[in-house]
Symmetry: C2
Subunit: 223 residues, 2 copies
């Protein structure tokens, strides 16, 4: 039994759960769409292209997607949500705020190397897609706040938003470096983490140490 996407729409908001459906067809369509959006842009993907890229007939798209024009938003919030869950699941239970932040940003940068389409999508739309921004920003704010309270970061309260901008922007730009082959994920990730920690007031030597520590694998989202 395939979940019809339409059943999960209400008041203009599509539930992310729709994509966790077990239908292999929907999965393939979403994967193909992610790639096409990343390559071609959010608006230049025609249904025929999508069908061909997913390896299905054009009619199948309409069978599974009641609102193809909403596909981009669905995929965008899905992506942010999935990554957030996996990053949380990958943190060690006793990691300090600075280490969590360093690992978090490096997860994003390493994944750009491991899954180029994923990274390209994020680089292209993280700034313009409202839903992706909010999905990615709220957990980030939590991390910064807990780090500030723990005394790891030295920020004034009103600098919270600017610190979020600092981190989000730097991570995205660093992902771009990796995507374009200008730096390895390891170097870009380490330098990104080091510079960010320094900006947040972590002493330079400590920042460097944390940024160079062994990066654990990115675990799957806990079902």
């Amino acid at each position: 039994m395939v979940f019809k996407l339409a059943r999960f729409h209400f008041s203009g908001c599509a539930l992310v759960a729709a994509s966790y459906s077990d239908s292999p067809v929907l999965r393939r369509i979403h994967q193909a769409a992610l790639r096409l959006f990343a390559e071609t842009g959010a608006t230049h993907v025609s249904i025929s292209e999508l069908a061909q890229a997913a390896g299905v007939a054009r009619g199948t798209i309409y069978n599974n997607l009641t609102a193809p024009e909403a596909l981009f938003e669905v995929i965008a919030s899905e992506l942010g949500d999935e990554m957030h869950q996996r990053v949380l699941a990958s943190f060690g239970a006793d990691e300090q705020p600075a280490q969590r932040l360093a690992n978090g940003v490096r997860f994003f940068i390493r994944r750009t190397h491991d899954e180029p389409d994923w990274g390209r999508f994020l680089c292209r739309f993280a700034f313009s897609s409202e839903s992706m921004r909010t999905t990615l920003n709220s957990p980030l704010a939590q991390e910064i706040l807990s780090g500030s309270e723990a005394g790891c970061f030295h920020l004034q309260p009103q600098q919270l938003l600017s610190a979020m901008a600092l981190i989000a922007g730097t991570v995205l730009s660093s992902m771009l470096l990796v995507r374009e082959g200008l730096r390895t994920w390891r170097d870009a990730g380490a330098d990104c983490a080091e510079l960010l920690l320094r900006a947040l007031g972590v002493p330079a030597d400590e920042a460097r140490r944390l940024a160079l520590s062994e990066l654990p694998p990115l675990l799957p989202a806990t079902a």
Copy 2:
């Protein structure tokens, strides 16, 4: 006499000079296009929309633009180039690297407040438009290098690209904060500059002082 855009195309590259034409019609078309691109996206602007927004007839668009599909690229590189020139023109002759950087990023953030369409365009496309990235990045690299050599910044040589990513990404995100009304240009600019300088190894108190200094006006490009 209006410059036909086509005369300035060769080997796929449109000279920026075309836009400095004295034709008021072309100027209006470009202004309208900047706004529409920023609002609607680079691909969703139809010729009819553009004509209406510019206050001219549809035929006039075809009269002045031999290659409407190249309009986006023309405007993107034009924008980057113009801003670069104006920022350079606005630096004091004897300013130190750290002060130049602080002022440079604040110029971008203040202009986002002064010219919302300009800021929106930049936020939306700075990451995806190749030509804009290169236009904005090469002067940035110069600043960082001269600051490192002068001993103001503490970076390892291989961190140059990551430092550029840090700055470009943070400035763009901070512009977004201003564009969305979450912070004033003054606060977002100051915090952006302060955090960046700290990341580059400038002592915290010095970073704060430079970030809060009086910001001179953004001068017009020297003809």
